[in-house]
């Protein structure tokens, strides 16, 4: 609200270069008010805590920051967190697309139930999911035991376990972003492709997939971002061996427990920076894809 009133009073209403950028004539009222509200809200809810984080980390100085972040243990955790989040998001991009496809294109008994099931990872407390997953995949669990005994394949307390947990929490993001786009895809485009001689495969890869790709990238990005920040569902199944299966959020918690607040903030800041750059790249990619056919 502060920003709203200030933008109203700071610039005269009578036009001029500055106001014309901020206030284009529009039939939709309340531009100043809503923009001000949006900025204030984002400032308070998003930017303020992040700024506090950066400021706290800044207390270390460049040298201290460097020393806190560039240790083998932190570097390994970076690789685990970002690498496995990418793996989880990639798995979700493929299978989330399949789930969305099935939910949109076919009708079968229990479809609504399956549709509702997709949202469960959203709603379930992540710690519950983590405990359930580790109970299942532990060497003596229902799935973990046969896997271990028959194939000598360990899931829990390895990076594979982390990837499974991250896939679990990220699935709804892909399904829920792709689903509405698939729903709105006009069947005529596919019929046109078929009548022009395209096979089913060609119709999918040349017509359906490119139309859905921007949404798929959004879902991928959301799933990835969720994975990077995920804590509860991972720590139980990860085993948390430093340098091997230790994720960044856990490392931050460990630093906090050791009263190393600045160190925790430094890791957090580095994480923030990498996440921001990656999401920015995904957004630019997506903007480029959209602008190709929405001009």
């Amino acid at each position: 609200m502060v920003a709203a009133s200030s933008s109203d009073t700071a610039f005269p209403r009578a036009g001029g270069a500055v106001t014309s950028i901020l206030k284009k004539p529009s039939v939709i009222p309340g531009f100043g008010l809503t923009l001000g509200f949006t900025l204030t809200y984002l400032g308070l809810i998003v930017l303020l805590p992040l700024a506090a984080l950066v400021v706290k980390a800044g207390g270390l100085g460049w040298f201290g920051f460097w020393n806190a972040v560039f240790t083998p243990r932190v570097w390994a955790a970076f690789q685990v967190s970002f690498g496995l989040s990418l793996v989880g998001a990639a798995i979700n991009a493929v299978f989330g697309f399949v789930v969305a496809w099935v939910l949109v294109r076919y009708s079968f008994p229990g479809k609504r139930l399956v549709d509702a099931l997709v949202d469960l990872p959203f709603a379930l407390p992540t710690a519950v999911a983590g405990i359930a997953l580790s109970a299942l995949y532990a060497p003596n669990g229902w799935v973990g035991k046969p896997l271990n005994e028959l194939f000598g394949f360990k899931v829990a307390f390895t990076p594979i376990g982390i990837a499974i947990a991250l896939t679990f929490v990220g699935l709804p993001f892909v399904v829920r972003t792709v689903q509405p786009i698939l729903q709105d895809l006009p069947p005529e485009e596919e019929e046109a492709a078929v009548s022009l001689g395209a096979t089913r495969g060609q119709t999918f890869w040349r017509v359906v997939f490119p139309a859905v790709l921007p949404a798929l990238v959004t879902g991928f990005a959301l799933s990835f971002a969720r994975g990077v920040g995920e804590y509860g569902s991972v720590i139980f199944i990860a085993g948390n061996m430093p340098g091997l299966t230790e994720i960044l959020p856990l490392l931050i918690v460990i630093k906090l427990e050791q009263y190393d607040y600045a160190g925790a903030a430094a890791v957090g800041t580095a994480m923030l920076l990498v996440s921001f750059v990656m999401l920015l790249i995904l957004n630019i990619l997506q903007h480029w894809m959209r602008s190709r056919h929405a001009r």
């Binding site: 485009e189 019929e191 492709a193 078929v194 022009l196």
Partner: protein, 345 residues
């Protein structure tokens, strides 16, 4: 290529979209499937294209049974009402699509594809738009791209589903003329669906009037307009005055004898008489039986509404005629009928 449709029936649940339809499309002609919505015309077109399969009946393309063939093996070009262009492809890639998806052995080289697409874009007068995306084109341009795309696969038959339905009136008329000219140039067997009788009558070599899954009449535009075979066809093709009447000794009495029409048809008893507005003459007459209740001038034409013995009639004439008659709203007038059709009830 000729198309032979025999006994095609199609149900959607309890609804019968097509009821044992027989139709022959002659090689090289431009045929219109005309009917109100729900008459089955689009379903019939989609069955020809293989986008829908009938419950029973047979379909022959050039004398060969085609129902077992997939759409892509039928060599049929299909144009959709809402263009159905591929949004993420340029105009060029849209038109080239059918050539690019051919099996490897039959595919042209990229130079040949470029030559063909360029030629087609010139044909539809969109040579400069090759690099645009569909969203950057107007409706009329998009439909021409859709047409070029359908023609690219060198189809034996061109099927068009309400091709002008989504366009505004002026563009629709232009594109209609243009399509007629294109057809005169390339003589591809074409079938188009429309609910607009003017479009069908102006564009087609032959018109097929459909209603409720059946064919009402097949004939040349002049034929179906001048000699409608049923009350439905008469009513559907253009404006009409409809009267309940009784026919005795070859004379139809309308409105308890307020109007009488001589009929040369073997109709007796209760019947329905149809009079086109331009076959209804009006003349000013003091103390006449009719009263002018409204006059609407639309461009060069004038529509005159008349009340007569509790009936409301509509007459149509050009504006000069209206001025010459010198009638105004509220005047008394006499009505005479130049031509009418009477169908038994």
């Amino acid at each position: 290529m000729a198309i032979q449709v025999s006994g095609i029936t199609k149900r959607f649940g309890a609804y019968k979209a097509l009821d044992a339809v027989d139709l022959e499309v002659r090689s090289g002609e431009l045929l219109a499937l005309l009917g109100p919505s729900g008459s089955g015309k689009t379903t019939l077109l989609r069955i020809m294209a293989g986008l829908e399969s009938p419950d029973s009946g047979s379909l022959q393309l050039n004398g060969e049974e085609a129902l077992g063939l997939k759409p892509r093996d039928r060599q049929v070009g299909f144009v959709f009402q809402h263009y159905a262009l591929f949004r993420h492809m340029t105009v060029f890639d849209n038109v080239a699509f059918g050539l690019n998806v051919r099996p490897r052995g039959q595919r042209f080289g990229s130079a040949e594809i470029k030559r063909r697409v360029t030629e087609l874009l010139e044909l539809v007068q969109l040579g400069h738009f090759a690099d645009r995306y569909p969203a950057q084109l107007s409706g009329g341009q998009r439909q021409r791209v859709a047409l070029a795309r359908a023609l690219a696969i060198e189809p034996k038959v061109l099927l068009l589903d309400e091709p002008f339905g989504a366009l505004d009136a002026k563009v629709r008329k232009e594109l209609r003329r243009w399509l007629r000219k294109l057809h005169d140039d390339i003589h591809i067997t074409s079938v188009f669906v429309t609910h607009d009788q003017e479009e069908a009558l102006e564009l087609a070599d032959r018109v097929v009037v459909m209603s409720q899954g059946r064919i009402e009449q097949i004939g040349s535009p002049a034929d179906v307009y001048d000699h409608p075979s049923s009350a439905f066809v008469y009513e559907f093709l253009g404006q009409v005055n409809r009267f309940d009447c009784t026919v005795e000794n070859g004379v139809a009495q309308i409105g308890n004898g307020a109007l009488s029409i001589a009929t040369d048809h073997a109709v007796r008893g209760a019947a329905i008489a149809y009079v086109r507005p331009h076959d209804l003459g009006v003349s000013p007459a003091v103390g006449g039986p009719g009263r002018v209740s409204g006059i609407h001038v639309v461009g060069p034409d004038a529509r005159v509404e008349i009340e007569l013995a509790g009936l409301s009639l509509e007459a149509e004439m050009d504006r000069e005629r209206l001025t010459a008659l010198g009638i105004a709203t509220g005047d008394r007038c006499a009505v005479h009928i130049d031509r009418a059709r009477v169908f038994a009830r």
